[in-house]
């Protein structure tokens, strides 16, 4: 498997605070990675740097072998990195259909959307089980549905790498399973590489092949779910006394 994303000595300081402390990790093409850690560990900051929202204080980020750190978010999006946000973001006044269409147009702007583009919207709406909401205004929907729409829109941009920042917060057990199935599907069938930040252990343990654990900005563990769940430092910092997944 080839390396899709490489993070080298990544560091981010905000004034006196070190949010991300010289981290290194590698993401292979087609893999499913989870990043976990207590709040403030630097997970979202890392995402922000990968996606171009922040400029690293030091270090490099390589996507498909090329350096992308410090570039603007839209450029990075067009290179093939998609993302959802922790505080759900949406184009509120649009309908769900228009919302997904916007994502598709963003990467392939046509003055008049083509038939193929419109068909893709339908496909994505079906995949994400949003067809019955196609004409509803996004801001009138629940946060959980808005998260799904955010995911659907990101899928519309056809990313090679998808970053999900606590995308499943607030979802029911059934909804989580639905989304997990969707993610497994795009990973297997479309070869989409996934990096997921989550606090929901079910998601991390069932979806991810490799887990990276951050604490106070530093990587404290890396490995498959079993290894990580049994790692003493991780247990101390995060999982608590006994892990049921050990």
């Amino acid at each position: 498997m080839s390396v899709l994303l490489e993070v080298i000595n990544l560091r981010k300081e905000f004034g006196g605070v070190v949010a991300v402390n010289d981290n290194n990790f590698v993401v292979e093409q087609g893999s499913r990675i989870g990043i976990i850690g207590p709040n403030g560990a630097g997970k979202t900051t890392t995402f922000n740097m990968i996606c171009g929202a922040f400029k690293p204080t030091a270090g490099k980020i390589l996507f498909q072998g090329k350096e992308i750190q410090g570039q603007r978010p839209h450029t990075i999006s067009r290179l093939g990195i998609g993302r959802t946000f922790q505080n759900v973001r949406a184009f509120g006044s649009l309908s769900v259909y228009e919302h997904v269409l916007t994502g598709i147009l963003a990467h392939d702007l046509k003055l008049i959307p083509t038939k193929e583009q419109r068909e893709r919207v339908e496909t994505i709406l079906e995949m994400t089980n949003l067809v019955k909401f196609r004409n509803t205004t996004v801001k009138d929907l629940t946060i959980a549905l808005q998260r799904k729409i955010e995911l659907a829109t990101a899928l519309g941009t056809n990313p090679k790498l998808l970053l999900l920042d606590e995308n499943m917060a607030g979802l029911t057990y059934v909804e989580i399973n639905e989304t997990l199935e969707l993610l497994r599907k795009v990973n297997k069938e479309m070869g989409m590489t996934l990096i997921v930040v989550e606090h929901i252990m079910k998601v991390i343990m069932e979806l991810c092949e490799k887990i990276i654990v951050l604490n106070y900005g530093k990587k404290i563990a890396e490995g498959n779910p079993h290894e990580v769940a049994n790692n003493k430092e991780v247990i101390e910092a995060y999982l608590g006394e006994e892990s049921q997944y050990a």
């Binding site: 603007r72 839209h74 946000f85 973001r89 963003a106 003055l111 990101a154």
Partner: protein, 325 residues
């Protein structure tokens, strides 16, 4: 109480003929104006159509893309003076000066827009306000070029085309109406196209738009410059219609009136600002016997609109439509 923005209501697709019904009727009425109305009414109608183009182009920049600007009057003025000077001093025919004035204003707006649009919050609005004032100062103080406070006279009407005499009121009217339909039609196509969708996305949530792959800086500058260019060409039409230019016609009060027109109608709907322009122009003319009161009434009206329905006339229409459902 909502915000000042409206988006195309995507709830139920409106059949094509219904969408063009109201504008179609308005257009037919406008075509018939010189046939049935007095010269004075035709003159006012020309002004209303000019303001409709200004308000419509303003909607592209602010209503669709998002940032509040207060210098639209300055772009109008720059186009007017550019066109006038090109024909007077450089002996260009109107039909060449007209598109060139649009191109010049586009380039100018692009150059100042590119750095300015990076500004956050009210910085950008204040900068545009100051820019508008600055243009006014330059126009006022460049007496050798623009005639300054004495005004610029001796502008010729557009040269005849197919035997139509554009020096007459009727000729001017139809010329202005023709270009209004052209420009506003173009704007309509643009805001409903993929380009327009990108602008709407930027307006709705700029960070998400950027993260989705939209080059927000570029689109904002393009919208800003296109809106400016149309305002500039409108200025050219005005210059050769009125044939006398004075800097105060393009001062910040004009920019403010354009903002008011757009808000009265409803930002972000294109048809709203057009209707707003007509309403405001006609009422301004009705009140021409009391000029000092006119601006006072309209600034009060703006405040009242902001209190009651910031989305303007179209906002009220939408509210009523929703109640019917």
């Amino acid at each position: 109480m909502g915000d000042i923005k409206l988006t195309a209501d995507t709830l139920k697709p409106v059949p094509v003929w219904r969408r063009f019904l109201v504008p179609g009727i308005i257009l037919i009425l406008l075509i018939l104006v010189p046939v049935f109305a007095s010269e004075y009414v035709v003159y006012v109608a020309v002004l209303a159509i000019i303001y409709a183009m200004l308000a419509g182009s303003y909607d592209l920049t602010t209503g669709y893309a998002g940032p509040l600007t207060f210098c639209h009057g300055a772009f109008y003025g720059l186009g007017a003076y550019a066109s006038a000077l090109l024909t007077i001093k450089a002996s260009f025919p109107f039909w060449i000066a007209f598109p060139i004035s649009g191109i010049l204003v586009f380039i100018f707006a692009f150059i100042i827009g590119y750095p300015a649009l990076k500004l956050k919050g009210h910085y950008f609005a204040v900068t545009t306000f100051f820019f508008g004032y600055f243009v006014y100062l330059v126009l006022l103080n460049s007496a050798k070029l623009t005639g300054g406070p004495m005004g610029l006279r001796g502008i010729q009407a557009p040269e005849s085309f197919f035997g139509i005499n554009f020096a007459t009121l009727q000729g001017s009217y139809y010329l202005t109406l023709f270009f209004a339909v052209l420009f506003l039609g173009f704007l309509y196509f643009l805001v409903n196209s993929g380009f327009g969708r990108m602008l709407v996305a930027i307006r709705e949530n700029e960070d998400l738009a950027e993260a989705t792959g939209i080059n927000t800086a570029l689109f904002k500058v393009l919208a800003f410059s296109l809106g400016a260019a149309i305002a500039g060409m409108t200025g050219s039409l005005f210059a050769h219609f009125f044939r006398l230019l004075h800097p105060t016609t393009f001062a910040w009060m004009t920019s403010e009136m354009i903002v008011i027109m757009a808000l009265v109608g409803g930002l972000g709907t294109l048809i709203g600002p057009i209707i707003g322009a007509f309403i405001v122009t006609f009422i301004l003319e009705i009140m021409r016997f009391a000029p000092e009161y006119r601006y006072i009434i309209w600034s009060l009206a703006l405040i009242i609109i902001l209190i009651i329905e910031p989305a303007g006339l179209m906002g009220i229409v939408r509210r009523l439509q929703r109640r019917k459902r």
